[in-house]
């Protein structure tokens, strides 16, 4: 709602700290807000509260160890982060992993994406004030976590990947339980729509709020659902296909409005796509080796290597500069969270405090991914 009333009231701008301990920032992110009444004049993110120098630690560690560090970046797509490092090492060593590994990696990556989007959906509702969504989302997410637990023993930071393959084969129950989950969740997405998407208050809170234009999305380097909500086709799974994504049919979820609701609907659509990808793969997981043998001490040939993957938040790029030793000379992660966060000021300027919460939620920030 545009306010057209012009008044001669003298108002004073003031600063307010949103975070580092604030319920809406999803972690230790500090936003310095300049506010005039309820209207936001400027948002300045202050980063570094959870900086653990993961990139520097990578220079100290062997390539097998680096995989485990990436769990702690974007913990909600931990498997996909692991996969990115494994792929870059495999690329450098020119290892060809078996089809079985590729398919299992893809299925688990899509399950991870689903779990991440479920959590996002629950938290979005909570940020906007509908507290019940959180528990609905967790009910469904729990099934995925159980599958993961049975498969590799961990529920969130899984470390299922290794350079050259997987730690162990899937559990005998894996296929059955994944199918159960798909059947279950197919009935639950419409429930999500019923509870939140169709709600008039929710639509008023998100439609036309925080509009990111296509040009801005490109120039800020926004990725993932944030860019796709603004009509920028940026799905790495399609553009630079990896693992088993070339074997499946799926649509890239796109929306052109660029507002909060567009980003919301892109993610909901992505959930359907992920379900369809898993459905296509789950019935015919090919036989094959679970691991391609690598040396105990992996040494990458001298050179630079780069691998892009699509995490639940967007494009994760892993850059490795090797001098031929057992440790990388330099590792750089191009994390989706940081580039997506950079749009926040242009989105939130001129809107209300309540809008900022909705904007932050639909950008889907994971703070450890931003700080690394």
């Amino acid at each position: 709602m545009e306010s057209t009333v012009k008044s001669n009231l003298k108002t004073e701008e003031y600063f307010i700290n949103m975070g580092p301990q604030h319920p809406a920032t999803h972690g230790v992110l500090r936003l310095i807000l300049t506010i005039d009444g309820e209207i936001i004049k400027n948002v300045e993110p202050d980063l570094g509260y959870i900086h653990r120098s993961i990139e520097k630690m990578c220079e100290r560690d062997s390539y097998q160890q680096i995989v485990h560090l990436t769990d702690r970046m974007d913990y909600l797509s931990s498997h996909i982060n692991n996969e990115a490092v494994c792929l870059v090492v495999e690329k450098a060593l020119e290892i060809e992993v078996s089809d079985r590994v590729k398919v299992i990696r893809t299925i688990i990556a899509e399950l991870t994406r689903l779990a991440s989007h479920q959590l996002w959906w629950g938290v979005l509702g909570m940020d906007i004030g509908a507290l019940t969504t959180y528990f609905y989302a967790f009910r469904d997410r729990e099934m995925i976590n159980d599958i993961f637990e049975e498969t590799c023993g961990a529920r969130l930071t899984m470390n299922y990947n290794l350079p050259g393959g997987l730690m162990f084969d899937i559990h005998p129950n894996f296929v059955k339980r994944t199918k159960e989950f798909i059947a279950h969740f197919k009935t639950k997405i419409p429930e999500y729509d019923k509870l939140l998407s169709g709600n008039v208050i929710f639509q008023k809170r998100t439609k036309g709020i925080g509009i990111l234009s296509q040009e801005d999305a490109i120039s800020f380097g926004a990725t993932g659902p944030v860019a796709r909500g603004s009509g920028v086709s940026s799905d790495i799974r399609k553009i630079h296909t990896y693992s088993a994504y070339d074997k499946v049919n799926f649509n890239e979820a796109l929306s052109t409005e660029g507002d909060c609701f567009a980003r919301y609907s892109v993610r909901i659509q992505e959930m359907w796509e992920s379900l369809s990808i898993i459905e296509q793969l789950i019935d015919n997981i090919p036989e094959g080796d679970i691991q391609t043998p690598t040396k105990a001490v992996i040494k990458l040939p001298k050179g630079e290597y780069y691998q892009r993957v699509e995490t639940a938040r967007g494009e994760l790029g892993v850059y490795v500069n090797s001098t031929g030793t057992k440790n990388p000379y330099r590792v750089k992660f191009r994390s989706p969270g940081l580039s997506n966060l950079s749009v926040i000021n242009s989105l939130a300027k001129g809107s209300k405090i309540g809008d900022l919460v909705a904007i932050m939620s639909t950008i889907d920030i994971v703070v450890p991914d931003i700080d690394r």
């Binding site: 909570m126 019940t132 528990f135 009910r139 208050i201 809170r205 809008d355």
Partner: protein, 354 residues
């Protein structure tokens, strides 16, 4: 004569026999006030318990179930914990206002309860301007919220308090006007008389048909906003403002704010029951002839249904934004309400009431 009444009469007679008249009336007032305080503090605590249970049902959880059977003593334990906690405060606060604010809120809530006829005999004082008294008293509560937010030297609290001021002042109009619509129909401001009218003519929501139903809907919306509950809980929007106006309060002072919210919910539900659903009268007069039946039960059953409705709102809807909140009030509810009053007046004039 029912048993509770005979007990109070015995006490009344006994007090007046041992004391001079003025001292006896003062003692009686103090006794009644204490009884009300205890009764509604406990009622407030159990509303908190009910809310937590209802939230749990909505959210696939169990809710409190550890302290006592079914967790029935959970809120009691919470209150005890809050009583025993240290009262902290921030630096450079306005000490007087900061300490005064919670009392404003809780006292107004409890005072408003005095005029409700919970049953024929269960009413602290029956004044002929009951409805007016209710509106007047319940609007003082916002001062407490404003003072609390202003004096705690916290910007989040201040934003919460300002939101509350804006919200309560706006929605007060709708609450008042929808009450006025019904007062037009009854022709009385006295709560006990409003209920007596419904004994013969049926519930007011049926007597006044269309405008009464519109008034009820507006009253429920505005009443939810008055109590600062979701979807109008911008005052304490935890994802935006931390805890809003009571961010800096601790211990019992926080508990006062918290309890007042639930007692206000009770008040709004009670007004709705008195104005629209016949108060303590039984539906279709099914317990009319039974003398021993406690009519107060009907009142509380109806109140409970309305409260459950409000809880249903809270656990389903997202929160409105502050400008949308004001748009809803000034552009929709208020004009509809004004037209509705005229509509009601015409209906009464033409004698179309059922």
């Amino acid at each position: 004569m029912s048993i509770p009444l005979s007990i109070t009469k015995t006490i009344h007679d006994w007090l007046f026999s041992i004391m001079p008249e003025s001292a006896a009336s003062i003692t009686e007032m103090v006794l009644i006030a204490t009884a009300y305080l205890i009764l509604f503090a406990v009622a407030g605590l159990y509303l908190v318990y009910l809310e937590r249970k209802v939230a749990a049902w909505f959210q696939l959880r169990l809710g409190p179930n550890r302290v006592g059977p079914l967790g029935l003593f959970q809120t009691m334990a919470d209150a005890l914990k809050l009583v025993s906690k240290e009262l902290t405060s921030t630096d450079r606060i306005d000490k007087l206002l900061y300490n005064l604010a919670p009392y404003f809120v809780i006292i107004t809530s409890l005072t408003a309860l005095a005029v409700f006829p919970f049953s024929k005999q269960f009413q602290a004082f029956d004044i002929n301007i009951g409805m007016f008294f209710l509106i007047a008293v319940s609007s003082i509560g916002v001062i407490g919220i404003l003072l609390g937010g202003w004096s705690s030297n916290n910007k989040y609290a201040l934003i919460g308090a300002m939101r509350s001021g804006v919200q309560t002042i706006s929605y007060e109009l709708s609450v008042g006007l929808s009450i006025l619509t019904m007062v037009l129909l009854t022709g009385s401001l006295q709560l006990s008389e409003i209920i007596e009218i419904q004994r013969t003519g049926g519930w007011l929501i049926l007597q006044g048909h269309v405008p009464a139903i519109i008034a009820f809907m507006i009253f429920m919306i505005a009443g939810t906003a008055e109590t600062n509950r979701a979807p109008f809980d911008l005052v304490e929007a935890e994802s935006e403002l931390g805890a809003g106006f009571h961010t800096e309060y601790s211990g019992m002072k926080f508990a006062y704010f918290f309890l007042a919210e639930f007692i206000n919910m009770l008040i709004i539900a009670s007004i709705a029951v008195v104005l629209f659903f016949g108060g303590w009268l039984s539906p279709f007069g099914i317990t009319e002839g039974i003398t021993w039946f406690p009519e107060v039960l009907w009142f509380f059953i109806k109140v409970l249904i309305i409260i459950l409705l409000m809880m249903w709102f809270r656990w389903t809807f997202p929160r409105l934004r502050v400008d949308q909140l004001l748009t809803l009030e000034w552009k929709y509810l208020l004009p509809i309400n004004l037209v509705n009053i005229v509509f009601m007046a015409i209906i009464i004039w033409l004698n179309w009431t059922i």
